[in-house]
Amino acid sequence: MNDTLRLIYNGRAIACGDIPCSDQDRFLQTILEMTGRGWRVSSYCGFPAGEVTTLFCLLASPADGVLGIMQTVCTGTEFPSIAVQCPQVQLFEREIAEQCGIRFIGHPWFKPVRFVRSAVSGQDAWGRPDDQPIQVGVMDYYRVEGEEIHEVAVGPVHAGVIEPGHFRFQCHGEQVFHLEISLGYQHRGIEQLLIGGPHPQTLRQVEAIAGDTSIGHGLAYCMVLESLSQTRPPAAAHALRGIALELERLANHTGDLGAIAGDVGYLPTSSFCGRIRGDFLNMSAIICGSRFGRGLLKPGGTVFGLDQAQREELQNRLATGRAELTSAIELLWNTPSVMSRLEGTGVVSVESAVEMGLVGPAARACSLKRDVRSDYPFGIYRMAQVPIATAHHGDVCSRSSVRWEECQKSLDFCVEQLRQLPAGSHAVELKPLQGDHLSVALTEGWRGEICHLAITDADGRFKQYKVCDPSFHNWQGLAMALRNEQISDFPLCNKSFNLSYCGFDL
C-alpha cells in the first residue's frame, strides 16, 4: 500500500484532513496500479470550488473488505485521461468533465453523459456556448461506414412503459456491430438538491433516485448520516432493513425473470412472474404501507417494526411466494426452446467485465465474485452472510440463473431474519453530523453496488454529495453484450441487465 491512499471501511466517516492529497501523476498512477492489482473504481468524482476542482477517487479492494480514498487538485480546465489504460474510468471521467467543465485529454470516447451545464459557469468541456441551450442526445455518435451498413436509432420514447433513452445500433443486416447508448433524459438534478442538506426533503429524494431501488439508495443515505453522526441503529433496525433490501431484490429479479420469459415468447412464466413480483412488492407494503418500501427507512433506524402477527403473515407469504416462484422458474429451465434462446446470447467475457468494472448480477454472471454484502459487509450482513451466486458464461442464461439463485438466497435470508427478529426498539435518535468529514456508504442493491459519498462543511451540512448507481457501471456492459448479436435479441439482452435510466441520470 502506498501513502497516497487512505483506507476506510464501508459505512464509516473520516476527517477530510486525513485524506491524502497527491499530485496529479501520483493520483493517476495509483489508480492504474491498484486497478492493475484487481481493485475497482467505486467512485471517481470532482467538486469544483472557485478556480480549482478537487478530484476524489474511491477504490475498492477485491479481498480484504477495505476501501481506499485519495484526492488531487485540478487547476485549470484540462486533466489527463487514463481511460485507455483503465477503461472502467471512462464514464467517470466524462461525468467529471460534464459537471466540472474539465476536458480530459486523450479520452477516446469524449462525449457528454447527461447533457447538462457544468457547475462552473462559462466552462464547458465541449466548448458549447453559454447562451445556447444544450440539446439532449446531440453528440458525435460512433458510426460504422460501408454500403451495407445501416443505422437503427431508437428512443428516447420507447414502445413499452419504460424510461427514456436513446440507442443507436450499427447493423449489418440483422447483425449488430455496435450499440451506443446515450442517456440524460431523466436528469432531474438530484445531486444539486442534496447540497446544503440534509434537508427535510432529502430522504424522499434519495428514495426516488431509482424507485425500484428505494431501499438500496435509501439505506446508503441512512448509512451516510449514521456514520457522520456516529449513530448506531439498534439490531432490530438492521434486520428489518435487510429484509426490506432482500424483498426489493426478490421483486425485481422475479419481474425480470418473467420479462425475460416474455421476450422469448414463453408466456406461462412471464405471466406467473408478473403476478408473483407483485406479491413480493405487497410484502414490502405490509411492512411499511408502500410497495416500494417508501417511508420504511429513517436515519437512526426504521419507522416501523413488526408485531408477531405481521411476522407470521410475512412468513406465510414468503412460503407461498417460494413455491409459486419455483414452479414458474423451473418451467423455464425445463423448456428446451427457452433454454436455447438464453444460452450463448448476449455474452460478456470475464475480461471485458473486469475491464469495464461491472457490478452486481451482471458481474457475477461472468464468474466475478463481487457483492457488497460479503465484500464490504454493512448492517445485518456483518452478522448474517448471504452466499454469493455466480455463473460462468456471461450470457443471458447466466444472468438469469444468477438472479434465480439470488432469489432463493434472499428467501432463505428473509425467513431466517423474520424468525429471529431482535426484540427492542427499531430506531434511535440521530446525533448531529460532524463537520469537515467524508463518509462512504456502499450497499448491494438488486442491480449491484450502490455508492454514496458525502462531504460535510464545517457546520455538518452536505458540501458535496455523489451518488453512483450500479447502472453507471453496467450500461457499457449491455452495449458490449450486443456486439455481433442479432438486433432482435436486444430486448432479451436488455431485460437480463434491466438497468436504470433514472438512477444513471440522477
Binding site: 414502445a159 436528469h187 424507485g211 405490509i286
Partner: protein
C-alpha cells in the same frame, strides 16, 4: 407444454382479482385518502403547521386544515401536525387540479366520467401512449403492473400501446425533466385528436419529491390540459385503476 398446463392448473391457478366487482385488498399500513381533524390540543400556528410538510402540501387557517394531494407524497413525515392522518381509502384520483385540495369537513371528490361525446369514443376502448419524463420509474412500474394477470387492465378495454399514432391519450409519469420536454410534446402532437391527458403521480402533477429543482417543469398542466390527476408517490395500482374506471364511467 403439459407441464406448463399442470402448473397453471395446479399451483398458479386463475388469479384475476374480483375488483371492481368485489373489494380491493390493501395492506393495513397503506396510506390513502387523508383525514384532517383539527387536534384541539394542537398549538401550532398556520405557518408552523405548513412547515410540518417539507413539500408544501399542508395549510392551516381559520377555515380549517388543508392538504394538497397533488403535492403530497403520502410519506407521513408530517406527524408534527397531529391533525393529519391517512385512511385506507385508495380512491384519490380526480378530474380537476383544485379537487386535489382536501379540506376539513369537505366532501371527498372523485374523478368524473368523460364528457358524453368522449365517453362514447373511449368508454369501452381507451389506448394510452405512456411517456416517462424524469421520474423514478416507480410510477411506471405501478402503471405497468395493471397489465399483469392479477389486474388484467385489458378487461376494461384499456391498453398501453407502442405508438402515439395508435393512442387515444397520453399517460405521463415524472416531473417532465428539461431533457424530456421536447420528446413529450412531440409525442403529444403525434396522437390524433380527440385525445386525453393523464398525470400519474406526484411528480407529474407538481414535481413530487423534486419540486423546486430547476431541471423540471412546474407541473404537467402547465404544458398540457390534464383530464385525470392520479396522486401518490407512486399511486397504488388500485388508485390508478379507480381513476381510469371512473373516467370511463364504469364506477359510479
Amino acid at each position: 407444454m403439459l407441464r406448463a398446463l399442470k402448473e397453471r392448473l395446479g399451483i398458479q391457478g386463475h388469479r384475476t382479482m374480483a375488483y371492481p366487482d368485489g373489494p380491493v385488498v390493501l395492506p393495513e399500513r397503506f396510506r390513502g385518502y387523508p383525514t384532517l381533524q383539527r387536534d384541539l390540543l394542537c398549538d401550532l400556528d398556520g405557518t408552523a403547521c405548513a412547515a410540518a410538510c417539507p413539500f408544501g402540501a399542508l395549510g392551516c387557517s381559520e377555515n380549517g386544515l388543508s392538504l394538497d394531494m397533488g403535492k403530497c407524497l403520502f410519506c407521513a413525515d408530517c406527524p408534527a401536525s397531529s391533525c393529519v392522518g391517512f385512511s385506507n381509502d385508495h380512491r384519490l384520483a380526480v378530474s380537476k387540479r383544485e379537487e386535489l385540495l382536501v379540506q376539513t369537513n369537505a366532501e371527498h371528490k372523485l374523478a368524473q366520467p368523460l364528457a358524453p361525446d368522449m365517453r362514447k369514443l373511449f368508454g369501452r376502448s381507451l389506448k394510452f401512449r405512456e411517456v416517462s419524463a424524469g421520474g423514478c420509474n416507480a410510477c411506471e412500474a405501478d402503471s405497468n403492473v395493471l397489465t399483469t394477470i392479477g389486474w388484467d387492465l385489458g378487461r376494461f378495454g384499456i391498453q398501453f400501446v407502442a405508438s402515439p399514432r395508435h393512442a387515444d391519450g397520453i399517460w405521463v409519469t415524472g416531473p417532465v425533466s428539461e431533457n424530456m420536454r421536447e420528446a413529450l410534446l412531440k409525442t403529444w402532437e403525434a396522437i390524433p385528436a380527440p385525445k386525453i391527458v393523464v398525470a400519474c403521480g406526484a411528480c407529474a402533477i407538481a414535481g413530487g419529491p423534486f419540486s423546486g429543482s430547476p431541471q423540471i417543469s412546474l407541473g404537467l398542466d402547465t404544458l398540457l390540459p390534464v383530464d385525470l390527476y392520479i396522486p401518490g408517490c407512486p399511486p397504488h395500482p388500485a388508485t390508478i385503476l379507480d381513476g381510469l374506471l371512473r373516467l370511463q364511467g364504469r364506477l359510479a
